[in-house]
Every structure is written in C-alpha cells, then in structure tokens.
C-alpha cells in the first residue's frame, strides 16, 4: 500500500547496476586514491570582505568529475552512516563521475529537500566526510559537501537557463493519490519543517506550511548571511518543495494569530511543530541592555535586510562600527563577526570563554574568519559592559580564563584566573551565546519540557498527543540544519506509517 519506493530496492541507488560496476572497473583504487582532493575555489579574502558575494565559488564541471573519481564506491560506505539523513552518497557521486548530473540530483532528492543548502552549511568534517574511508589512509576525505552542492547548483542553473521550473524529484510522480484527502499542518518553514513537508507531499498528503515571518526558510533566510548561503539558493530549494504540492502560508504565527483549535476546525489531521530555537539568550551580566549591545538575530536580520529595510530611519548604516566584539564561537558568532568585517569594522573580535579547539563552529567558517582578519580572544569571558558619558557602550570587561581539569564529559571546563580582568574598548557587542526554544503559545503544557522544548519520542518525533509531532531546534535546542532535516524526515515516516496503520486496520462494516 505504501507507494513510496523503498530505497534499497530502488535501481537509482543500487550498487549492483551494470554502469556502476563498469565505472568501478575503469580506474584502480591506487589510481583513485592518488588523486589530490580538489580544493573549493574561493574569493580572495582581501576582496571578499568588501562585498557580500558568496565566498565559496563552487566546483566547475571538470573539478566535480575529478573529485567524484576519488570516491571508491565502497560496498559498506562509512560516509552514509555519518549523514543524519542517510543520503545515498556513493550513488550520487558515481552519477557525477559519469556526468549524469540530473540523476545525481534525483538520488539526493530521495533523502533531502535542501541539497544546495546542506552542501554549503553542513559540518561535513564531523559527519559524512568524517566517515569516509580516506581518513583511514590518512588522506583528506572525498569532498562530499562540495559535490552535493555542485549537483544542486548545476541542476538549478540548467533549469533556470532553459526556462524550466524547478527540477522535481521523480518520486513525486509515483506517490499515491490515496492520502491526498488528509490535511497536514507544518508550523515553521525552517529546514525541519521543509524536510517534513517535502516527504509528506511525496507520500501524497495534502501539506500546508505556516510561517510567522513574511519570508520562508527560517534561519536559512533571516540568520545565515548571503556570503555563506545566497538567498536565491534557498528560494530555489523552497520552490522545489512547493512544486511537490506543498502550500505555504506566511505571516501566520500559530498559537498567536491562529489557534490550534482553528487548525483542527480547518480539518488538519496531523501537526508537525518545527518552530526552531529563535529566542535569543543573554548572559545576565551588567550592561547587556546598553545601546550598542544586541543579539545576533537583531544584527543578522538587519544585516541581511540591508538593501531594503531601514528601521525607523536607523538603517544598517548605524551598525557600521569600528570595533565590534562577538560573544561566542558557534556558526552564528562566525557569521556575525564576518558580517561586521563586511560592514567595515577595523577590529572584529570573537570573545570565547574556552580555547580554540572547543569552538563549536564549522571548521571552514573558522578558517574563513581567520583569513579575513578576525581576532580571536579565546579564554576570555565578558563580565560587564561599560557605557560612556552619553550612556552608549564604550568598553567591555573581560575575565581571563584557563582550562581546568576534565569534567565527567571529558571536556576541560574553563575556570576564572583570579584577578585577571582586562578592559577592551568596543563600539558594538553582538551576543551569540545560544538560543532558547520557541514553543508556540497555547501548546498544552504537558508537551513542554521545563526549558521550553517540546518533548517527543527520539525515534519518531511523536509527542504525547498522537496528532502532534515535532522536530528540529524546538526539540534539540540550537543544533544544525541537517539534524533538523533528519528529524523532519523521521517524523514524516512515523506519521505516515501511523496513518497507514489506521487505514489498514479499518474494515467496512
């Protein structure tokens, strides 16, 4: 009854097809492993800090094919185990090697709705690329993320130039119309909501995504800046989800401007909550409400909107400050500090209480930040922000830290060095010390944890209400795009199986 084709039996991804065998025989393992990893072309750092252009320029066709040759098409690929959505990595890479780029995208579309996004923002070094066999040979792993990005970008460009609509995954064509009468509501249009919506639509359900803001994509849109993730790329991937039949309703904040009861009245039978963890956290130290201290969300929303929005006449120009300090060392912090350089900061600093090796940001982003001239004040923790005579931020007091004994988790936690406090002049502080979950208002209390997360079963994403599932940052706290997507996909599988079970247990009379 399930029209959704099971991947293992899908010839698209089978390793035993004739062409894959031939391809494997074409080059020896020694030949393949002697090829150097193709480096991603980047805009030079002196130039890129003066513009908003994407830093990574993407692989050319020849570069991509060359890199694809490095992949050994392992029988038991370690990379796939590291991918939270279990992308069929060798299958798509081998399609790149034989230059069947459209099929490569079809393979990726089996498991992901955001290949161009993930190819750019996934921490591959901790996921797929960490599981690659090349690591065992002490060689750099296959550039899986760069190839994923190439496949998505190439196909997008082809369909744009030929004037086609978005390239739609073929699976949609085999979805049964059987579930078309079942309405599913998704709350939040970030990666988790999009992944869930895409998968449910592929399975034939009637899916509507509600978004509080006036643009779709969640953090991908309002948070991550253009120089890491161009907005066109995100829009094109969302267009592909829409092409699957998913409806989008913007400017609707569920729980505030539309009640859960209304969702029920409108006939929604299943709800997936993917509202993210957008609520900014502060450290609770003196001076955090001074003018000149702001959250990463405020800073990045204003930065991202710089060509259009001016806020009450105070547009992005007022964000152009000489000395900018960003507190924290996650991806958000790196994005913010690099945005500061692009706004003309002479001194852009990361202030982080642990040491460089504990920084949670992606390796590539840290490297980009270093190249661009960001200063890293590691083992420093802000304890107070100071104001000048006008009441505006002028300096921060930083407590020097050192790493203590490892705690139970094995991580060496930072401890204060008594008396080592220094004052550093600064004109703008951006606080990026994490986020709090954003549960919708009106949600029954029993679904919420004390920290405001939604409590669900880890595997299925199901809450204690059978009709409500949740995933992404609202369940995990601030995490990553790919984990959010993985949650969406697992919840789609579990929810659709729940519906199928109901139907298969129903008899007439």
């Amino acid at each position: 009854m399930n029209a959704y084709q099971h991947p293992e039996t899908n010839p698209l991804v089978s390793r035993d097809t004739r062409w894959r065998e031939e391809l494997r025989e074409r080059m020896s393992t020694r030949e393949r492993t002697s090829l150097p990893r193709v480096e991603m072309p980047e805009i030079p750092s002196e130039y890129r800090v003066k513009c908003n252009d994407e830093v990574n320029q993407g692989l050319s066709i020849e570069q991509a094919v060359l890199e694809a040759r490095r992949c050994l098409d392992c029988p038991d690929p370690g990379c796939m185990k590291g991918c939270p959505v279990a992308n069929h990595i060798p299958a798509f890479i081998k399609n790149v090697e034989r230059r069947h780029f459209a099929e490569a995208l079809e393979v990726l579309s089996l498991t992901t709705v955001l290949p161009a996004v993930c190819g750019r923002v996934c921490p591959q070094e901790k996921q797929c690329e960490a599981g690659c066999i090349y690591n065992k040979m002490k060689k750099p792993p296959v550039a899986i993320g760069n190839l994923e990005r190439f496949v998505a970008d190439f196909n997008r460009e082809v369909s744009r130039q030929e004037g086609y609509g978005p390239v739609v995954p073929t699976v949609s064509k085999i979805a049964s119309p059987f579930f078309g009468g079942i309405r599913i509501a998704v709350i939040g249009s970030g990666p988790s909501g999009l992944a869930f919506a895409g998968d449910m639509a592929k399975r034939g359900y009637d899916v509507t995504v509600f978004e509080a803001l006036d643009r779709l994509g969640g953090v991908l849109k309002y948070g991550i800046p253009e120089f890491c993730l161009p907005k066109d790329v995100v829009n094109a991937e969302i267009a592909r989800v829409a092409e699957l039949g998913v409806k989008f309703v913007k400017n609707t904040c569920v729980g505030i401007t539309m009640g859960f009861d209304e969702l029920q009245e409108q006939g929604f039978k299943g709800i997936f909550i993917a509202t993210g963890a957008g609520k900014p956290r502060f450290m609770g130290i003196p001076g955090e409400n001074l003018p000149g201290v702001m959250t990463a969300n405020e800073y990045l929303i204003r930065y991202n909107a710089k060509n259009t929005d001016d806020i009450y006449g105070q547009n992005v120009m007022t964000l152009r400050r000489k000395r900018v300090a960003v507190i924290g060392a996650g991806n958000t912090a790196m994005d913010a500090v690099r945005a500061a350089l692009r706004l003309g900061a002479e001194k852009a600093m990361i202030v982080y209480r642990r040491s460089a090796s504990e920084m949670p940001a992606r390796e590539e982003e840290v490297r980009h930040a270093r190249e661009e001239g960001v200063e890293f004040l590691t083992l420093h923790n802000p304890v107070e922000y100071l104001a000048d005579e006008n009441g505006t931020l002028c300096a921060m007091r930083l407590q020097r830290m050192e790493l203590g004994e490892p705690d139970e988790s094995g991580r060496r936690s930072p401890i204060e060095i008594p008396g080592a406090v220094e004052t550093v002049d600064v004109d703008l502080v951006v606080v990026c010390v994490g986020y709090l979950p954003n549960p919708p208002e009106q949600l029954p209390d029993q679904l919420r944890s004390r920290q405001g997360k939604i409590k669900v079963d880890d595997e299925s994403g199901k809450s204690s209400r059978p009709s409500i599932y949740a995933g992404g940052d609202i369940v995990r706290g601030a995490a990553t795009v790919i984990l959010a997507m993985g949650d969406g996909r697992r919840a789609a599988k579990a929810m659709s199986e729940a519906f199928e079970e109901i139907i298969s247990n129903t008899t007439l009379g």
């Binding site: 803001l213 006036d214 000149g292 929005d309």
Partner: protein, 255 residues
Amino acid sequence: MVATIKKIHRHSENTAELVIADPAIARSARAGHFVMIRFSEDQPRIPFSIVDASPEDGTFTIIIHKGARLTHLINSLEVGRELPNLLGPLGQAFEVANYGTVLCIGDGEGFVPLLSVMHALRDAGCRVITVLSEFSEQNTCLQPDALKWSDDLYHSSSKERAAELIREISSREKVDMVVMTGPSDLMRLLTETARSLSIPARCILNMIMLDGVGICGICRVMVGGERKLTCIDGPTFDAYQVDFTQLLNRQRNFV
C-alpha cells in the same frame, strides 16, 4: 485571503486612518493588540496598534501617525490595495475589567494605542477620564476618537502639567488606575506621580520592533528585574515595574 484596504480617512498630511478587511484578525483582535505590516518590499515591517475591530464586517482599523517619515507612504495608499505582509493580532491583550475610575493619559503623537483600551474599559463599565498631553495641530484629529470613549477630557500643554493633572483629579475624586502611553520620559514622570499617590498604573510601551514574534530582542525591556520582550510579553506592562531610565537610554541612543 489577502487583506485589503477597505477605507482610508486622511485626517491630515501626516495622519491616515485605515480600515483593513481581514476577517481572522477582526475576529480575534482585543484591546491592546497590534499588527505588523510591511507595505511594500522596500519598507520595513512596522507595528501598528489595532484601534478598533468589527468581527461582523470582518475589518479592523489602524491609524498611521508617524510624522514626516511615513508621509510618502500615507500618500501612496489607496483603497483596494492588497496587504500581503500583515501579521497579527500580536502582543498580550490589555486586561480589561471594571476597575472603577481610570485615568488615560497619552501624548499627542503616541496617543493611538490608548484608543482601543479606552473603548474596552468603557464597555466594561469604567469611568474613563482622558488627559491629552501636548497635542499639536497635527494630531487634533485624534480628539474626536478620544472624546467618544471619555467621560471627561482634559488637555495639558506639557509633561509636568499632565503629572499635575493626576494630582488635581485624584484630589477631587478617587482614581483607581492610570493607563498611559507616549514617550518614555512622559511615562517615567507619570509613573512616579502615580506611585507617590499609590494609584496602580499600566503603561503601553512604544518600542522599535523588527519581527514582532520574539526573535530579535530589539524590543527588550527590564520589568521587575526580568528581561521582557515588548512584542510578545507586552506591549502593556505594570508601569511600577518598568525600568524607564534604561528604556530611555536605549531609545535615545539607538544603535
């Protein structure tokens, strides 16, 4: 269904009253709620108080009253125009009850948020006394609206006079609550006056907002020692608890 502008009353070059058709908002709007609107792609998203709503007609009313910066916008609006980027109703509704006698004080420019509250308080049986502070030529057009929901109306020419009026009126009759809006320095002064007379006070804050749903933190304010967001926890707060000094500093030196 996309919201559309049903009617426009242009009171002056700087003020326009818009009646907007949007049945869902009309149905759920309560006194104290607001909406966020982006009129066009190159405009920011701006919060507007809902001053009136008619569930029967499926419409609600806002007043655009922002001085010269929005003049161009006001002139460009026309009936029938669709407003695809409209979000609301947002914020916590004003807690309406029969409090007895309520003194409503607002400054000319910023009086708008009080209108729906006065209306609701009157409907709940309160005696509503209004003080219009620092009214200028430009906003006298709000006076008829204010008059409609007031049992008594006073004018004051300055902040200090508005504070004095609280004393005068409360010496003549029992005042059970002060509700205020307008610039933060006015509200700070009025709050101190109300506190010295032990009259409970509510303030409707006027903060810059970006998203209106609690994401950016730009609208944060300290209330009773806790950090609150005006867009989701407010815009109405217990005035005694609000740190106006900090608020004023943030507004004066906006970065």
